[in-house]
Every structure is written in C-alpha cells, then in structure tokens.
Amino acid sequence: MRRTTKLAAVLSTAVLALSACGGGDSDSGGDSSGGGGGDASSDIRVGVAYDVGGRGDQSFNDSAAAGLDQASEELGIEFQESEASDGESEADREERLRTFAEAGYTHIIGVGFAYSPSMAAVAPEYPEVSFAIIDDEAAVGDNIANLVFAEEQGSFLVGAAAALKSESGQIGFVGGVETPLIQKFQAGYEAGAQAVNEDIEIDVTYLTQPPDFSGFADPARGETAATGMFDDGADVVYHAAGGSGGGVFEAASQADGLAIGVDSDQYETADPAVQDVILTSMLKNVNVAVYEWLTAAAEGDTPTGTTRYDLAADGVGYSTSGGQVDDIEDQLETFKQQIVDGEIEVPTTP
C-alpha cells in the first residue's frame, strides 16, 4: 500500500511538473506583454487568447503575435496575452475570454478554432466587447468577426511548384493532425500537383489523429515520416505540421531532397543548415488578418462576420526567398491568376 502511494506520488508530481515544463518555454509571452504597446495612443485594449503553444511556437500563434506586435507598434494599442494549456476544459477557455472582458479589454481575439464554442457562449454576454476568431466560421454573432483563410489556394500553388520541381514524379505531404483544417492543405496541394502532372504520385501521412494534437509539435515524428517518403522515391515533401516541420526539413537535408514550409516564410526562420532545402513556403498570413482587424478597430470601425483571406486578398500565397522558385514563378503566377479569376476552383477536401 505505502509503496504504491510513494510511486504514485512521484509519478503524478512528475506529470504535473512535466506539464508545467511543457508550457514553460513559452511563458515569456506573459512577461514580454506585461506593459503592452508604447504610448497607448489608441483607446482600444486588446486581449489575445492563444491556442496551445502560445507566442513563440514558430508557427500559427507566432504569426498572430506578429500581426499584434505590428498593430501595437504602429497604432499604440495596449494589449495582453494568455495562452491555452494542453487538454483544458471548455470552461477554462470560456473563463479566459470572460476574464479579458471583465478586465475591461474591448477587443478580444481567439487564436485558433478551439475557441469556437467558448466564443459563441461568451460573446453574447458582453455585447459591448468585440470578438474575433481565427480559422472558424461556426461561432457567429453580432460582435464576432470570423477571420478565415483559403489554405487550399496557397497549397495549390506550392503543390504546382512541387510537381514542377520533382524529377521522380513522386512527392509527399506530411500533415500534423488529421483535422478538416489540415485536410484543406492536402486537398489544395494534391490539386495543384495534378494540375501540372496528372500522373504524379503523392504520398500522404498524418502524424497524429485528434484529439491527440502532439503532431503539431513533434519534430522527431515529422522527420521519420518524411524520411520514409524520401526513401520511397519522393523528392519534394510539403509539411503542414507546425513545429514538427523542422524534422521534415532535416529529413530533406539528409536525403538531398526538397521541402516546402508552411504558415510563414520558413526560409527566414529555419536553421541555416537546412535553409537550402526549402523550396518555398505556403504563406498563411494570420498576421495580416490580425493587423487589419485591429487597424479597423482602432479607427472605430470593427469588422464583424466572415472575412475570407484568399489569394485575391493576399491572405495566402507562396514565398520566393532563397530563389529556388524563380525559374517557375511565371507558371505559378499564371495559376494564381486563374484561381483569382475563378477559372480554377480548388477543392477543400481531399
């Protein structure tokens, strides 16, 4: 009895300590944001509720943070941040939004679709507060703005780039977690590759299945998955796997293959040792969406309802840094124009 108790005590303490460590590297968000921005010349106060990982995740959350920083610097907006912990309850998310509202924040941004039910519940309680949610159209209300992206359009272009650059006629896709959102990336990528080469072979792997979201933060697993594809004959691999993408770049570097980044221009942020394998990155400009929403809000005209950031609005796109797509840029631009004009309709499900 007592031995079991001791073992249990040590184990459960370890679990709690580990969970604390898990979030530890990102708690700088809490510190750095303390004062908010500059001279606070604007009278809106912004609360940002991040998804798991928060500021510093080198991916989705960071992109939102970049837009926030830009708005804060240029407009002097005061802001405060808070991030989700792994496996928290619906009540925790609701409470985070309520705490912001109760503390007098006038504009609250939920970063990520996980905030959908909680925002739908909390927003009606605070009609004078403006809410925005990224990647979700299900939470609707008079004071909710839905900022969504046409990930499939950007993915179409990098898919075309992959097919144009592939010599083996075989390419790969590594998804972080098999959610409808990431399937949009896959669908666009496949459509783009097939638009270039109808017979192209596309390997698809997802690292984890929901509700296990570790696939967005597991570089080792990303590397294993991508190595398998390169060994199998693929020569370009696109990842939509957040923090796991570093492993995909590593695998590409070792296999002398190419990789495609996601969300931000990963050529700029990746380890210099693997920089030369990054063909391009599918840009999902969450920062633009956040910045534009805040700019409009600071001017006293807060948008509500759905705003779609697609190719036409430069909400998604592809990066050219590194110069590896220079020779095919004309073809990519042609595809882009066709999508913008509606000549090509990109599917959202694979």
Binding site: S89, A138, E178, Q209, P211
Partner: protein, 375 residues
Amino acid sequence: MTSLDPRLVRLLLGIAAPVLALGAAFAITSLVLVVAGDPVGEVWSTILSPPETRNVVNIVNAATVLYLSGVAVAIGFRMNLFNIGVDGQYRVAAFAAAAVAGEAWLPGVLNMVLAVLVAMLAGAIWAGIAGLLRATRGVSEVISTIMLNFIATSVVAFLLRQVAVREEGSNIVSTRPIPEGSRLPGIPFGDLPNLEIYGFVVVAALVGLGYWFVLNKTRFGFDLRATGRSAPAATASGISVKRMTVATMLLSGAIAGLVGMPLLLGSSYAYGSTFQSGLGFAGIAIALLGRNHPVGIALGALLFAFLDEQSNPLQILVGVSPDIVAITQGVVVLTVVISYEVVRRFGSRLEQRRVAAALESERSAKADAKQEASA
C-alpha cells in the same frame, strides 16, 4: 505521561498533516516565484482572492469531474493496485457514451441513462483488460494501464473519424450532439444566465457515499482492503486474490467511465477534438491528497479545482504564467505524502511511549499489589 485524551491527540495529528503540507507547498511555491523574479504577493493575492459567483460554479463543476476521477483511482489504491489508466478509461467511455447517446435510439431520460451505463461498461471493459492481464499473466497493471492509455487515444481517434459530424464552417470534429431531451439539466446558481452547476454533482456525491459504504460496510470491501494490506494473508483466509484483482479493476474502470459524464451531459453534449483530457492523471494526485477517503478526495478535488480556476487570470492580470499553479499542485501532492509520513511516525512514537508508560504503571501497580499481598 501527559493526561491528553488519545482521541484528541489523533485529531490534532490528523489536522497537523494537511496544515503542514499546505504550509510547505505555499513556502516552496513562493520560493519558485522569487527565483523566477515574479511578484510573489500579487500572485498569491490573485490566487487567494475570493472567487466570484461564476468562478464558484466553475470550481464546483471542475471539482465534480476531478472527484470522480479521484474515487476511481482510490478504489485501486485501497487494493494496492495503481490504476494509471483512468485517463484512457474515461476517454474511451466518454466517446462510447457520446456515440451511443448521439444516435438517440431511446427517448429522453432513458437515452441519458443508457449513456451513463454505456460509459460505465466501456470504462470497466477497458480497465478489465489490465485486471485480466494482471490476474492471469501477472502483468503489472502500472505498465498495462499506461499502454492502454496510448491505445485508447488511437482507438478513439480512429473511431471518432468513422462517426464524426462536422458543423458548417467549424474545424472541430465531434460526435453527433446528444438531443436536448437527453441532456442533464444543471442546478441554477446565482443570478447570471447560463450559470449552472452540473446536475451530475448529485451522482458524484452518491458515488462517494457508495464508495464509503462498499469499502467499509460490506464483505466485498473488507476482502478488497484485506487483499490490499497483504495478499498472502488474504489468500490464507480464503479470498481469491485473482478474482479480487479483476473485480477491483472493473469497479475502478466503471467509476472512471463516469468521469467524462458531467462534461458530456452537462456542457459539451458531444465528444470531439476539444474534449478535456488529462483528467485521469489529476485523479491520481487527488486520490493521494485525499488519502483515499471519500471526504478527503472531495477536499482535494475542490483544492485542485480552486487552484486551476484562480490561475486563469494570472497571466492576464499579473502577467505570470499559470504554469506556476501546476507547480503548486505537484508540490502539494509531495508535501502531503511526506507530511503524513512524518506525522504518522511522530504519532506512532507517541503511541509507543503512551503504551510503554501504561504498561510500566500497570506492572508497577501489580508489583505493588504483590508486595502488599506477600507482606
């Protein structure tokens, strides 16, 4: 010796342990805050500020869920079985219940009862695998339940994709929502709308009562505790340890199956990618904290829920990461185990001295009597 009533001593010792533990946890957490350069005073005043009405509701609701998890773990502990698998068991159970109730084969309340029964059955089966492995093959339940947690994650993820429905424009995958008639109404609290305590809190209280009754007042409970104290002694007195192992795991798993029910029937109405996870691990800490006692577990659950809830505004109002509360919780578990051990040793030394003194005085009294008799 002192003339202190032994019962009073025991009561004082009983209070001393948790007070000592909380004091030590408070001190250690403060030390961590100082080292990290965070404002100690502000952090504590935020955490210890009286919760508002809506926070009280959240605390009671979270404690309800944690309590069930704590009881599920405690059942195993009493039998010297370490069921780390409550986490997997409640997720399998919640998914099964959500999938079945979402189909609405039965009308209204019947559907709800069915969901609860399915959850208990699914939890029991998942835990029973570990029980069977232990009984028939001697596989340590610590290992098998951890492994079953991982398997649970994959199995649920796979099955969820088979039955998932998706709301238009949403990126959340979940089971079909339970029809309105089969949802468990909450207990209104305060004057705010949408502010209700989970109706399941009643069931949780009944589970606590049942736990106390079965363990302390029935033959089965006696067998369970006896086996936990000493398996060879239990065998010698005619208890089948194997059967007890399987029965205990089934019972623990059935209660684990209830863990997700307050959430499913009271707030989310579906099992999806945002369903709360990690409740089973919190249950281990809470069972330890509560010393496997039904009331102790309730206090432990309330303490954890209180800390969790009060940590939410930390980042927003004070600018300190809420992870500090996870450290506090971990420290509380350790200090509780240590301080109980310290107090137990102190208590047994007191007891020894008291008995020795009593024997001594008895002997001298006898000797006196003998002397008198012989004189």
